[in-house]
């Protein structure tokens, strides 16, 4: 990292901090009236411009078991930069507010980047906001079917905080309170970003990892098959005269060179080269959400039109490599990689959803239900995912001995599952009709909530795999020290079990200001 890469954002930060300090009020204004009038105020006391600076500084280190399982390996372990943090600048006035959240991570490509940045204005009862934003729809704790506005970063599964996983997106949002407990929201997202997946490294998803190597293997097989066909057709004879043997190997080299040239476009990009450009209006998304409270029940109703966040991948193995054999001059025969044999797309869909939260018999209940309708209404389009019903149900409850239990089940049920396989190369072929996950978290607080011990267990039902996360956290005032670990298990073919070799331990120390 060059010095100017640090100085430029550093100078910006310094200016922002000075401005915030100069204009900052120590605390928000108190109260809503002057206490002298009997006429209720219709609005809070006018807010002068207030600038607030807050943030978090963290020192953290993550160690993977396979990096230190041998003494020599441990000596080679790189602890990284240790430091990361965030700065939030808020400017608040009577009719508007603005917020900028900067992420600071010396280990990242950009040491300082904008995590969120938006402006919100108030026009009577109408709230209008726009910018780079992280929003939450739905009621359940994590990955609910109605929480559709922001993609999630799955490139590092040691990051378990749901909010930390969310990727801020450009969004325009309007909200209108229809009654005391009823609000209508409308959102428009001018582009789209899919869930972020690791394409290489230890967190790369099976199937996407090392695509170049997989294609090279396919290319080698294609060369062998082509040579075999040419030998069978009498064009080549590897066991004949010296001239024939030389012609065979010359043809082999020619085929290898031609396929290598056609694969050069993949290069180090790997699978990324197949992802379409989604930052276009063609991928725009929009939605409406109504929330209200009826008695002791909180309800939400929403409609959303957007793109599925995981790609549909379809590979025509037979067409991946196209051989052109020249019978008159076998050494000029070629093999070319056919990129169109790989189809990667984000299906458009309509979502209608409902959520509900209440307290029943001491249980804090939360649930969501959604119907996702793709274009494949007949269920037999091989390149488009079938419609599905998505659900989530969770609760938390206090238990004796200061224990707290939080559980959530979520999943999806594919509709018209029996239509899969009726067309060749169906992207969803050989996959289960249902996909379910159960998350349980048991925690106990000690010393007046200063020390918390928790254990989270995530179980992939159909995949028969799991992820266990024990954690010990000590916090006092603005300081927090924590120790966490992650263990994967179950089927190596599962979404979690594929990371069985990624056992990790993390320690962190944070200061909030």
């Amino acid at each position: 990292m060059k010095v100017r890469d640090i100085l430029r954002p550093g100078a910006l930060l310094l200016c922002l901090i000075c401005v915030a300090s100069a204009g900052a009020q120590e605390l928000p204004a108190f109260g809503f009236g002057d206490g002298a009038d009997d006429v209720p105020a219709l609005a809070p006391a006018a807010l002068p411009l207030a600038l607030r600076l807050s943030g978090q500084a963290e020192a953290a280190v993550t160690v993977y078991a396979d990096e230190v399982d041998r003494f020599n390996k441990a000596l080679s372990y790189n602890a990284g930069q240790l430091f990361s943090g965030s700065l939030t600048f808020d400017a608040v006035s009577d009719h508007a507010e603005a917020s900028i959240v900067l992420a600071i991570d010396p280990a990242a490509d950009q040491a300082v980047s904008i995590d969120e940045g938006f402006v919100r204005s108030y026009f009577g009862k109408l709230n209008l906001e726009a910018g780079l934003r992280t929003l939450t729809w739905g009621r359940v704790d994590s990955e609910g079917p109605l929480d559709v506005l922001n993609p999630l970063d799955y490139s590092d599964l040691s990051v378990t905080d749901q909010m930390a996983r969310k990727i801020a997106r450009p969004v325009v949002k309007a909200s209108w309170p229809l009654a005391s407990f009823t609000r209508l929201e409308a959102v428009f997202l001018p582009g789209f970003e899919a869930n972020r997946l690791a394409l290489d490294g230890r967190w790369a998803q099976a199937g996407l990892a090392d695509l170049s190597a997989q294609l090279q293997t396919g290319a080698s097989a294609a060369i062998e098959a082509t040579l075999a066909a040419m030998v069978a057709g009498g064009l080549l004879n590897p066991a004949g005269s010296p001239e024939q043997v030389a012609a065979f190997y010359a043809t082999q080299e020619s085929l290898a060179n031609s396929v290598g040239t056609s694969l050069a476009a993949i290069g180090e990009s790997g699978a990324a080269v197949f992802f379409p450009d989604t930052e276009r209006l063609a991928y725009a998304q929009y939605g409406l959400r109504l929330t209200t409270t009826a008695g002791s029940h909180d309800l939400g109703f929403q409609y959303f039109y957007g793109n599925r966040r995981n790609p549909a991948v379809s590979v025509d193995q037979a067409s991946l490599f196209h051989a052109q054999i020249n019978p008159l001059d076998p050494e000029s025969s070629t093999i070319a990689f056919n990129p169109s044999a790989i189809s990667l797309s984000y299906d458009r869909y309509h979502q209608v959803g409902i959520d509900w939260a209440t307290v029943l018999a001491g249980f804090n209940l939360r649930s969501e239900l959604a119907l996702n309708l793709t274009d494949d209404l007949s269920g037999d389009d091989p390149k488009v995912a079938n419609p599905a019903v998505l659900w989530a149900l969770g609760f938390d409850r206090s238990l004796p001995a200061n224990l707290s239990l939080n559980m959530q089940g979520s999943g999806s049920v594919r509709l018209m599952h029996d239509k899969l396989g009726s067309a060749p190369l169906d992207a969803e072929a050989d996959s289960s009709r249902t996909e379910s996950r159960l998350i349980s978290r048991l925690s106990r607080a000690f010393f007046r909530d200063e020390l918390e011990l928790s254990f989270t267990w995530i179980w992939g039902v159909e995949d028969a795999d799991w992820y266990a996360l024990p954690e010990l956290r000590w916090s006092r005032a603005d300081t927090e020290i924590g120790l966490r670990a992650g263990f994967f298990g179950g089927s190596r073919l599962g979404a979690l079990g594929q990371y069985r070799d990624n056992t990790w331990v993390s320690a962190h120390m944070s200061y909030f200001f």
Partner: protein, 257 residues
């Protein structure tokens, strides 16, 4: 003799009822001592650990009594780790409370179950129910005048209150109610096993807008050796509070719309 027994019994029952009513009226007078449509306050909570170390929380509380139903909004200002956390309580027609909490780290509003009412309120010695107990109806308990006693130079009624709801976090409360001011100078709280677990004490009182107001209160947890002091920095009675404050909208945005 047979005629005397029912008369004696009737007399004793009458005496007992009178004493209970007297105890109840004392409690009612104490809890309804300050009449105000709204109460707005800013308070500092000083949490003292067993080893004497302290941490502080600064919070604003806005309460409104409308049509006999109490609504309360608590906004945490400090420390930074809890700043922006808001807690809304609304009494329902059935007398129970609907509660919600907004946690900035989750960026969402969540309901709080009544079963969590006995849980610690943001790590203090107060439980969620303790925070809500200022509006507890005197009729929710059965009261008995135990004795008179002088506490810190103040002559007090000592009243034992037993909750009618066996699910309440305490099995018994003993209150020292000052005879002159009706302020509950001290309250001892007993868990469901009858063990004395916590004590509330008034440390300081001031006249605010003609109302004698406790401005410093301490809750001590005996077994843990810990305590939490609430020191009122600002308090206003009948200050206008818009109804929009007691809504999930304000809970999630901190803005009155």
């Amino acid at each position: 003799m047979k005629k005397l027994v029912p008369c004696t019994l009737l007399f004793l029952i009458t005496l007992s009822l009178a004493a209970a009513q007297d105890a109840q009226s004392i409690i009612e007078a104490s809890r309804n001592r300050i009449t105000a449509r709204t109460v707005s306050s800013r308070a500092r909570m000083i949490i003292t650990a067993r080893d004497g170390s302290t941490t502080e929380r600064l919070l604003d509380q806005y309460s409104s009594d409308t049509d006999g139903k109490t609504r309360s909004m608590i906004v945490f200002q400090r420390p930074a780790s809890v700043a922006g956390t808001r807690f809304l309580t609304i009494e329902t027609a059935s007398g129970t409370d609907d509660r919600w909490i907004f946690l900035p780290s989750l960026a969402r509003v969540r309901r709080v179950a009544a079963s969590e009412g006995s849980g610690r309120f943001v790590g203090t010695d107060f439980s969620y129910d303790d925070i809500s107990s200022a509006s507890r109806d005197a009729g929710a308990d059965t009261h008995r005048l135990v004795r008179e006693e002088t506490l810190n130079g103040i002559v007090c009624h000592v009243i034992e209150s037993v909750p009618k709801d066996s699910g309440w976090q305490y099995s018994k409360m003993i209150s020292w109610i000052a005879k002159d001011s009706q302020i509950a100078e001290r309250i001892e709280l007993f868990d469901r096993k009858g063990v004395h677990v916590k004590t509330v004490e008034i440390l300081e009182k001031k006249d605010v807008q003609g109302r004698l107001t406790p401005t410093a209160t301490r809750m001590s947890t005996l077994a843990d050796g810990t305590s939490t002091e609430i020191r009122i920095e600002i308090i206003k009675y009948d200050d206008p509070i818009p109804d929009a404050v007691f809504t999930p909208e304000y809970l999630s945005t901190g803005r009155v719309r």
